[in-house]
Symmetry: C2
Subunit: 188 residues, 2 copies
């Protein structure tokens, strides 16, 4: 009977997640009080403290769930693709993932917790690509440090994704992919 199995705990955490996101749509995270969250969630404050030390831990926990889901999305991949194909595939997954979790990303973006979000996306994206592109022919031939390539493209892709979200999807996913396709050279 651990933290994860008891239905009451799962339910409580779920409500806290939803309530925090709801509040973050109208109020900056910095200004949200633990008592605000509990009041809105109809959960006793002592119950909150039974699970989290402070509101930062709550947000951490929420983002941890996001991470698990993104990593899962990144799991399926093809081997032996060119660096460009890989980058395009990465962008496609990122867009789908962000689109699916739109509510969460929007709420966090609306606040000044973007650092949090960007850090998290950069981290996952960079780790993922570091593994996949390690022995990629194009990259090896380019003689550029892998980390430089990864950081450059990861930053570009994530900025594109997040601004796409804040612009209320001004372009379709397909248009976006087409544009980026033109921006990335066939051979790095």
């Amino acid at each position: 009977m651990n933290e994860k199995t008891d239905l009451r705990i799962i339910k409580t955490k779920k409500i806290l997640f939803e309530t925090l996101l709801k509040l973050m749509k109208h109020k900056n995270f910095d200004k949200i009080k633990i008592s605000d969250i509990c009041e809105e969630a109809l959960i006793n404050r002592s119950t909150f403290y039974a699970h989290y030390q402070d509101k930062y831990e709550l947000l951490d926990d929420l983002v941890e769930d996001l991470k698990v889901s993104l990593l899962k999305d990144l799991e399926n991949y093809e081997n032996n693709i060119s660096s460009k194909e890989y980058i395009m595939r990465l962008l496609s997954i990122l867009i789908d993932h962000i689109d699916e979790k739109k509510d969460i990303y929007s709420a966090i973006l609306l606040n000044n917790r973007n650092g949090f979000l960007i850090d998290f996306l950069i981290d996952v994206t960079e780790r993922e690509s570091a593994i996949r592109l390690k022995n990629n022919e194009d990259i090896v031939k380019s003689q550029l440090p892998l980390e430089i390539i990864i950081r450059f493209y990861a930053g570009g892709l994530i900025n594109i994704c997040l601004s796409w979200l804040t612009q209320k999807e001004k372009y379709t996913k397909e248009e976006l992919l087409e544009y980026i396709n033109k921006l990335i050279p066939e051979k790095i």
Copy 2:
């Protein structure tokens, strides 16, 4: 006799800036109390409240100074350069600026206020390039939306700059410029 001219005010704010940065090197911004800052700064708490409503305003004020200095750095520019030349020039200025203000950037980066920093850099960079590249020949010919190009490259450059900083300048500025030079096509 406004806010800016009285020597006592200038001095107080300067000390508050320095103290906040000092504390941020050892402690997360979220966990820093106004009373911590005042104690360390040897400034009365009521004096703090005479200038700022809360610690967020203090950080805002500090970053506002950064913004002024970056905008000044970006002022001098040549006209009629290719889009690639422009991007390379932008990167060069960004690196110099961040290098010069290393202490401030590092302190803020160490905390989870990167969102703050990234937002700020993205904002300045995107505005600057939107103006400069508006009628750029290469861009017009590419038939890609200007904002897409800008967001893609701004994200890439800033991620490169910030990770360069956190990596304690593993590469020289010249090496970095050379690498990025290879990553950006002559014609967009």
